[in-house]
């Protein structure tokens, strides 16, 4: 039985699934344009990612291994699912788990081919997950400490923005975004567009349609992470979205201002500055809520 509320839910879901890649692709287009401008170039048109996508989709399908293809679909599906979960205002941890499912799937895809570059890329992607996963989970814990629930719905139910209580955690998303978007200094597993020793790391053996699907998953993931950042100022959501775009811009800026670091530096930075400071932020909340200064 389809009640109006379920109908609305379906409508919103479909809307999210359609709009997210469009917005994500566009944001990547803007990213490339902006990067070009930072480098004193004109850069590609903003819709360039879509040209790339359509072209890739229509290329001859080649692959090294059939099993590598399955993981692409799981990767994309997980990215979509985690976005839907976010739209449904579900459990933050489950959203992150689903995101991780997609990440693991991509890694497995890289491993499934006997290719040095994709395998080393996968090893490094694992390290990247090791770097950003804790920060994300800590953010979820932060949400919980402030709202008393892991459900995203609780964030919206709360009047005041989370940013006031969780400023450092919000900032740690610069690191998360940087890693997720494969930006310098953390583009160690498969650089976005700069070249590196791993060719294209774990994406080396994917081509054509499969690369396009991975690209699309990337768009969903971008929107997902931006969406999570928006939660730091959920009422009104526009402000949150502005905040997320601001962090996005910061990430692009950093990308152009630094060299790529090695995986050891990445782990050190993310665990000390990212996770470490996030923990301090959480500790502060523990103390404050213990003192009864903030509810939770």
């Amino acid at each position: 039985m389809i009640t109006p509320s379920i109908a609305l839910e379906i409508l919103v879901t479909v809307f999210a699934l359609v709009v997210a890649p469009l917005a994500g692709g566009l944001l990547f287009g803007i990213d490339r344009k902006l990067t070009a401008r930072l480098q004193n170039r004109i850069g590609p048109p903003i819709v360039q990612p879509f040209y790339d996508f359509i072209k890739l989709w229509n290329k001859d399908q080649i692959f090294a291994n059939r099993s590598q293809l399955i993981y692409v679909y799981v990767h994309l599906g997980a990215a979509m699912a985690s976005l839907v979960l976010l739209v449904w205002q579900q459990d933050m941890l489950v959203i992150l788990f689903t995101l991780a499912l997609g990440g693991i799937s991509l890694v497995l895809g890289g491993f499934s081919v006997r290719s040095p570059y994709s395998q080393i890329g996968s090893q490094r992607e694992l390290l990247q997950m090791l770097a950003y996963e804790p920060m994300l989970v800590l953010a979820a814990v932060g949400f919980y400490l402030v709202t008393g629930s892991f459900l995203v719905a609780a964030v919206f139910a709360r009047g005041t923005p989370l940013l006031f209580e969780l400023p450092v955690i919000a900032l740690s998303f610069v690191l998360v975004l940087g890693i997720k978007l494969r930006k310098s200094p953390f583009d160690i597993a498969a650089a976005g567009h700069a070249h590196q020793e791993l060719v294209r790391g774990l994406l080396t053996e994917y081509s054509g349609r499969y690369l396009a699907l991975i690209e699309m998953a990337h768009w969903y993931e971008l929107l997902l992470v931006l969406g999570i950042i928006s939660l730091f100022w959920a009422n009104p959501l526009v402000v949150g979205f502005g905040l997320s775009l601001l962090l996005y811009f910061l990430v692009i800026l950093i990308d152009n201002a630094v060299a790529r670091l090695t995986w050891t530096s990445m782990l050190k930075i993310t665990w000390s500055w990212g996770a470490g400071l996030s923990v301090l932020n959480l500790a502060a909340i523990y103390v404050l809520s213990y003192l009864g200064w903030i509810g939770g």
Binding site: L34, A36, R37, L38, Q39, N40, R41, I42, L253, I254, N256, A257, V258
Partner: protein, 121 residues
């Protein structure tokens, strides 16, 4: 990072350095070595150019009075220009356009140059 930041932020507000080629074409520098042109009217088919050419791009047939020039072999070094006793060879500052097929120019005494498909090899 702060060191680079000032550079890239400066770029954002500056005009891109990009030349709008092909929309806007810069005129070549005077004296640019674009491509080689022959004036067969004055040529004596002496073969000096052919002997000097480091990439064997010119073939002179003295009996037929033909000069065969392979633009896809020429490295535009100007050696032939320098060596030609009759100043029959000159350099044009415009570079040669890319092509789908390689052709050779066959110059004969009175007729204008004609393009012929390049012999294999």
């Amino acid at each position: 990072m702060p060191n680079m930041l000032s550079n890239i932020l400066g770029n954002i507000f500056a005009r891109p350095a990009t030349r709008a080629y092909p929309a806007v074409r810069r005129p070549p520098f005077s004296g640019a070595r674009g491509h080689i042109v022959f004036d067969t009217k004055s040529c004596g088919f002496c073969g000096a150019c052919s002997r000097r050419c480091p990439s064997a791009a010119i073939v002179i047939n003295r009996t037929d009075k033909t000069l065969t020039f392979d633009p896809f072999r020429c490295i535009i070094c100007e050696a032939c220009v320098e060596v030609c006793p009759r100043k029959s060879i000159a350099v044009d500052s415009q570079y040669r356009a890319p092509a789908y097929v390689k052709t050779v120019e066959v110059h004969t005494l009175p007729a204008p140059p004609e393009e012929a498909p390049r012999a294999a090899g």
